[in-house]
């Protein structure tokens, strides 16, 4: 996987981290150009043409086509660096071989972005565009095309020992929480946050930084406070940017007040040196000390528009494809550059749009080949937007487009106008609903089209959607409209906005093959650095060869505007005196290494320590000479504090060689005791029976089994209408109706069954007319029987007095019977049984049964 080379007598160690296969750099075979010939150089109507002697090698030819033809114009480098001009004369027009030789002195094809030619431009040397970085990036693209044509498939990372720096001091949290209590806890957290962020709150929610115990609150608040930059404290950001339960109508003012309180707390603190007991590495900063791991290896020989969004300011996002005319995008409306030095645009309803005339480049280049690719790194803000919400569109209005990459909920949509679609490019291709391919996180999405393979959508390197086979081979791009405009983040009309972040966009006039999509996905997005944390001083003298240094190397990148990503750490030995003949160093003894934590600005980061559980022993047997020893395969996110130019990092270890740190026991907050509910807020002492209890009680009282078919049928109908909770305050009319229906069903079953009813109402004549049946004796049989099951009595005659009395029940039931038999001698047939059913249901469905 890796191989190394080391220039002699230089304090440089070369580590090839990616495959570095260099071929075709000599005067070998005839030039083989795998890509489209670049378009003729057009600048204000001028085309430069080389008329000197023929190139003598294939590589000179590649230089001519990919670089010289773009640079040698009068408007770029030709005015100065031509023959007879200023050295190096890489733009000379009389002898391409000589120009090539000069160019080689300032070009590094293994790391094009690090070429002297590029860094000079980046520093502001005679850039022909508005921004020096745009010229540098454009030139990088040309050099990468040369490198790619030459077969340089990877890049070489040169690891150089950084300056030895000791980690600085920091504002550390004091042990005593008094100041915290005075400035932050009492006036703000207790006052405004205790209803939720306290274990005794009405809706307890971690972290409990508003706990009444100031010690517990202090501990919980530490990860939410930034003493170095109070306004970046999480709890301030939540107020200001997310309007999280502000206590006034003005969240900014609340955030300012809280930030001022944190500043007042921090203002009384003296910077403290790093705890001597800690086992630490030397310190590094990303900007000054980070070694750029350039994103080589991208496959983009046919790129015709490319946006890396590096400028980070202004109203224009520049096309650095190097393919003229530049298709720059003007930012309109609510669209911002990403913070924290991260490359990208955040769309909040606005858009970035290119002029129509310049956009015609897309029409020309794509209709020429009949195929194309849209490649982007995107992070949708949510998975609820639809329309489709326009991520990238080449269109003329809401209903007219050449292509669009959009979002509908969890799906990416790809609309491509062909002679087989309508003018709005429908029917569209979408990723399948069930796959939920689109997630609101950073994703690499690629849409490709060519007539043979149709449309395809790749997400994170994997094919996510493609046209049906029977649709292939039909529909050309002949009906594309060259008056449309390239627009990102919304439609040209500003409708159908897409909310999210765009970190990279490239448009190619070839359909990228699946393996190329995968390769570009693997390269990633944004800038990456290597940080070499020197740990030599913590090792015993005989642990590594004398004169060598030991490092923990991390790959570090700004992950987004708010965090750094630390990844792929490995232990590595560097020998500054190594020669090409000497063997790379290896450890001489076993080196125990455990508990790696990342420190930032003088203290261990309070969260995100994904390497805290690393535990390995580096030894001669597992350390690969020249390659090192990988320590972990996971990544860690560490919050940005002061920006990548200012934040200072270091590592701490629980164990490194013979040095160790005895980590103190973690603070364990006291178990919070919830407050007593106020008298008024307390639940009632009594409750009601729930559905199954009602059913079982009625069965018990009537003697009708719950399996009785009619009863069971009714129960199934009303089961979910019956009370679910015992809380008497939740009793509703709907519950009441359900209980009534069920008690009627039970009483019906009881009265209809001769055996059961004689058990319940022994001696009552169900067949007699009401006037006879409900004579005092018969009436008493009904009333007393019902009262007996509702008001329990012991054999000794004691009556349960927690509910209605038998006398009261009898009075109510009597009155009901009177109502029911008011028809006197003219009652319809069946009135007696109906009356018993009604009285039974009324009694058993009453509170006497229900309340417990």
């Amino acid at each position: 996987m890796t191989m190394y080379k080391q220039p002699p007598r230089l304090l440089i160690i070369v580590l090839v981290l990616l495959l570095a296969t260099i071929s075709g750099c000599s005067d070998d075979s005839a030039p083989v150009n795998h890509s489209n010939p670049p378009p003729p150089v057009v600048k204000d109507g001028d085309i430069i043409e080389y008329k000197g002697p023929n190139p003598t090698s294939a590589d000179v030819q590649r230089f001519l086509v990919n670089v010289w033809s773009n640079l040698a114009t009068q408007e770029r480098c030709g005015a100065c660096h031509a023959e007879g001009g200023q050295a190096p004369q890489f733009a000379r027009r009389d002898d391409i071989d000589a120009a090539y030789s000069q160019a080689l002195t300032i070009v590094d094809l293994q790391a094009p972005s690090q070429s002297r030619m590029v860094t000079k431009l980046a520093a502001g040397h005679n850039c022909w565009r508005e921004e020096a970085s745009v010229c540098a990036d454009t030139l990088t693209t040309w050099l990468e095309a040369w490198a790619s044509a030459a077969g340089v498939e990877g890049n070489v990372i040169v690891l150089t020992p950084p300056e030895v720096k000791v980690a600085g001091s920091s504002l550390a949290f004091p042990e005593d929480s008094t100041e915290f209590a005075e400035h932050v806890h009492t006036p703000y957290l207790l006052e405004h946050c205790a209803d939720c962020h306290s274990p005794s709150g009405s809706t307890p929610q971690q972290p409990y930084f508003a706990d009444k115990s100031v010690e517990a609150a202090y501990e919980a608040a530490k990860s939410k406070l930034n003493l170095s930059a109070p306004s970046r404290s999480r709890m301030v950001v939540r107020l200001r940017e997310e309007s999280h339960n502000c206590w006034t109508a003005n969240c900014d003012a609340d955030a300012d007040a809280l930030a001022a309180a944190i500043a007042a707390f921090a203002g009384n603190l003296e910077p403290t040196e790093i705890d001597d007991a800690l086992v630490t590495s030397n310190a590094l900063q990303l900007g000054p000390d980070g070694l750029v791991a350039s994103a080589g290896g991208r496959i983009e020989p046919n790129v015709i528009a490319k946006y890396e969004f590096k400028t980070g300011r202004g109203q224009w996002a520049f096309d650095t494809s190097g393919q003229d005319p530049a298709l720059d995008l003007q930012l309109r409306g609510d669209v911002d550059w990403l913070d924290g030095g991260v490359w990208g645009l955040r769309f909040l309803g606005g858009r970035a749009q290119a002029p129509t005339a310049a956009s015609a480049k897309l029409h020309k280049q794509i209709t020429f080949t009949g195929e194309y690719t849209i490649e982007a790194w995107v992070a949708a803000a949510n998975v609820t937007q639809e329309g489709p919400a326009r991520i990238v569109s080449y269109s003329g209005g809401d209903l007219s487009r050449n292509f669009t990459l959009g979002q509908t909920l969890y799906n990416y949509d790809f609309l491509n106008r062909t002679t087989d679609t309508d003018l709005n490019a429908d029917p569209r291709l979408s990723t399948p609903d069930a796959d939920e391919a689109l997630q609101a996180t950073l994703q690499h999405v690629v849409a490709t089209f060519n007539i043979l393979d149709g449309r395809r959508i790749y997400v994170n390197g994997n094919l996510a959607a493609s046209d049906d086979v029977d649709m292939l081979g039909e529909g050309s791009l002949n009906n594309w409209d060259d008056t449309f405009a390239l627009v990102l983040g919304a439609e040209t009309s500003a409708m159908y906005p897409w909310l999210g972040t765009l970190r990279f966009l490239a448009i190619h006039n070839r359909a990228l093959a699946a393996q190329d999509v995968k390769a570009n996905y693997e390269v990633g997005v944004g800038e990456k650095f290597y940080l070499l944390f020197r740990v030599t001083d913590s090792l015993e003298a005989d642990a590594i060869p004398q004169g060598t240094d030991a490092y923990i190397v991390f790959e570090v990148e700004p992950f987004d505007s708010y965090s750094y990503l630390f990844a792929n750490p490995f232990f590595y030995l560097l020998d500054p005196n190594k020669t090409s003949e000497s063997a790379p160093p290896v450890p001489l003894t076993d080196i125990a290494l455990s508990g790696i934590r990342i420190g930032i600005n003088g203290r261990e980061a309070p969260m995100g320590q994904a390497f805290a559980n690393v535990s390995v022993t580096v030894s001669a047997s597992n350390y690969v000479a020249g390659e090192g020893l990988p320590l972990s395969s996971v990544g860690a996110l560490i919050p940005i504090e002061q920006g990548k130019e200012a934040d200072e990092f270091f590592l701490t270890f629980d164990r490194l060689g013979s040095a160790s740190y005895s980590r103190p026991a973690e603070f364990r907050p006291p178990v919070a005791v919830p407050e007593a509910t106020s008298e008024a807020g307390r639940a009632a002492d009594i409750g009601i029976k729930t559905f199954a209890e009602v059913n079982a009680s009625l069965a018990l009282m009537t003697g009708v089994p719950i399996t009785h078919p009619a009863v069971r049928e009714t129960y199934r109908k009303v089961e979910q209408q019956l009370p679910v909770d015992e809380n008497i305050e939740g009793f509703l009319p709907a519950h009441h109706m359900g209980i009534t229906q069920l008690s009627v069903a039970y009483c019906n079953a009881l009265v209809a069954d001769a055996s059961l009813r004689s058990n319940a109402f022994d001696g009552f004549d169900f067949d007699a007319a009401p006037s006879q049946a409900f004579m005092p004796a018969g009436r008493a049989m009904i009333v007393d029987s019902l009262a007996n099951v509702l008001v329990l009595t012991t054999p000794a005659g004691a009556q349960v007095e927690s509910g209605p009395s038998k006398a009261m029940l009898a009075q109510r039931l009597d009155a009901l019977i009177d109502q029911m038999v008011s028809c006197g001698t003219n009652c319809p047939a069946g009135t007696t049984q109906t009356t018993v059913t009604a009285v039974c249901a009324a009694a058993l469905g009453s509170a006497a049964m229900l309340v417990q």
Partner: protein
């Protein structure tokens, strides 16, 4: 609302309603001065959901026990009633067996196992990890790994659970290896609810909710190392890593290393023709059964959405670790005599069951079931502590919890 009724039917319903409402309003709302008889009735109703049989002698016996200052004996007497099992316990456990906390679910093996363990006064901690399951004695159809018909038959026939359920060795009934059984967690009902699709994190989350009385929000702690959070968790939701660092991470850092214990389990069902998984079954990858996608015993679902964050944790096995033993969640009272890590669901579930939080949660749930409210005063909380103590003394018999809670809330000057 009564206008829809006509003629005699309307009069009948109106009359019923009047009596019902009158009765409701006429009931005394306090038991502050209730005597043993009233306490006995309430004790019985709270425990069983039904009043004592008007023709039986339970009421008088309970009254006597209470009068003799032995209310716990009265409670135990009430717990001999079938309704304690058929009504109270069934509805106590039913919401734990599904994601919605719905009590209206079919009777199933999870509920049956809870009911049976209470009945048998088993060490209730084993409900999470024992090789145990309760089935109906001589009930046809017999237990089947691929449907719930056995338990539905018990419910349909309204068989009394007190005498119908019998304790069996789960591995012998289901064919799961004994070491892979984990009490109710590996029942079919729990598998259908929490191992179906998804990532198996649900099994842990709902176990925490139902048996430690804590949802993940209450366990949120961003200071734990996030090294075991899988690749499917976005580290930058919506392009903002703060949402991960301050939100997602605080739960996943502790949850993922615990849920790794379930790495070999999956609920196998036909999503096209049986989307609810009514005929699905629990599958478990034994040592010689490798998942074709992962190439290990780990189920494919543990590696889904692996490109969301490539540098996330890739699950290699079912090794679990309890990161919550340190930090704020040390307050859950873990049993420090147990190892803080291990392999598989059984040992992980034991870690949960042996926590103070588990015992306290069972006590709180029983309290809520008997008192119809959460603990709300310091007296209530002191009583919960006493219930936990008695629970331990009673070798973790859940009946002890019900007896203590019901007596506490039987009214009067208990």
């Amino acid at each position: 609302m009564f206008k829809q009724f006509r003629g005699r039917g309307a009069r009948l319903r109106e009359a019923i309603t009047k009596v019902a409402l009158i009765g409701l309003l006429g009931v005394p709302c306090s038991m502050a001065h209730a005597g043993p008889l009233e306490q006995a009735k309430r004790l019985h109703e709270r425990l069983t959901g039904v009043p004592p049989d008007a023709n039986g002698d339970a009421l008088a016996q309970m009254q006597q026990y209470i009068a003799n200052d032995n209310a716990r004996a009265a409670a135990y007497l009430a717990m001999d009633n079938d309704h304690f099992y058929d009504v109270t316990l069934v509805n106590w456990a039913a919401p734990w067996t599904n994601r919605d906390g719905n009590v209206f679910v079919d009777f199933n093996d999870y509920i049956a196992t809870v009911v049976g363990m209470v009945r048998d006064e088993a060490d209730f901690r084993g409900v999470l990890f024992d090789d145990v399951i309760y089935v109906g004695r001589a009930v046809s159809p017999a237990y089947n790994n691929s449907d719930n018909a056995h338990y539905e038959a018990i419910a349909e026939r309204a068989l009394p659970l007190q005498t119908t359920l019998e304790r069996r060795v789960q591995s012998q009934i289901t064919g799961l290896p004994s070491e892979a059984t984990a009490g109710v967690l590996t029942t079919r009902a729990a598998s259908q609810a929490f191992f179906k699709a998804g990532t198996n994190r649900a099994q842990l989350r709902f176990t925490l909710m139902n048996h430690l009385c804590r949802d993940l929000e209450q366990l949120h702690d961003v200071t734990r190392p996030p090294d075991r959070i899988r690749q499917d968790v976005s580290r930058s939701p919506g392009g903002d890593s703060r949402a991960f660092l301050n939100g997602c991470m605080g739960c996943h850092n502790g949850m993922d290393p615990l849920a790794q214990a379930f790495a070999y389990y999956n609920y196998n069902y036909d999503p096209d023709n049986d989307p609810d998984g009514l005929n699905g079954f629990l599958e478990y990858n034994q040592p010689d059964e490798l998942d074709p996608v992962t190439g290990t015993r780990v189920q494919e679902k543990y590696l889904i959405n692996s490109t969301t964050f490539k540098l996330g944790f890739v699950t290699p096995d079912d090794k679990w670790d309890n990161y919550w033993r340190a930090g704020a969640n040390a307050n859950l009272g873990w049993d420090l005599t147990l190892p803080s890590g291990g392999h598989g669901a059984k040992s992980m579930a034991r870690e949960l069951a042996y926590s103070d939080a588990f015992a306290s949660c069972q006590a709180t749930k029983a309290f809520k079931a008997m008192c119809f409210r959460e603990p709300q005063t310091s007296d209530d909380r002191t009583h919960i502590t006493a219930m936990v103590s008695n629970f331990q003394t009673a070798n973790y018999s859940a009946k002890s919890l019900f007896a203590d809670a019901a007596v506490y809330c039987m009214g009067g000057d208990n």
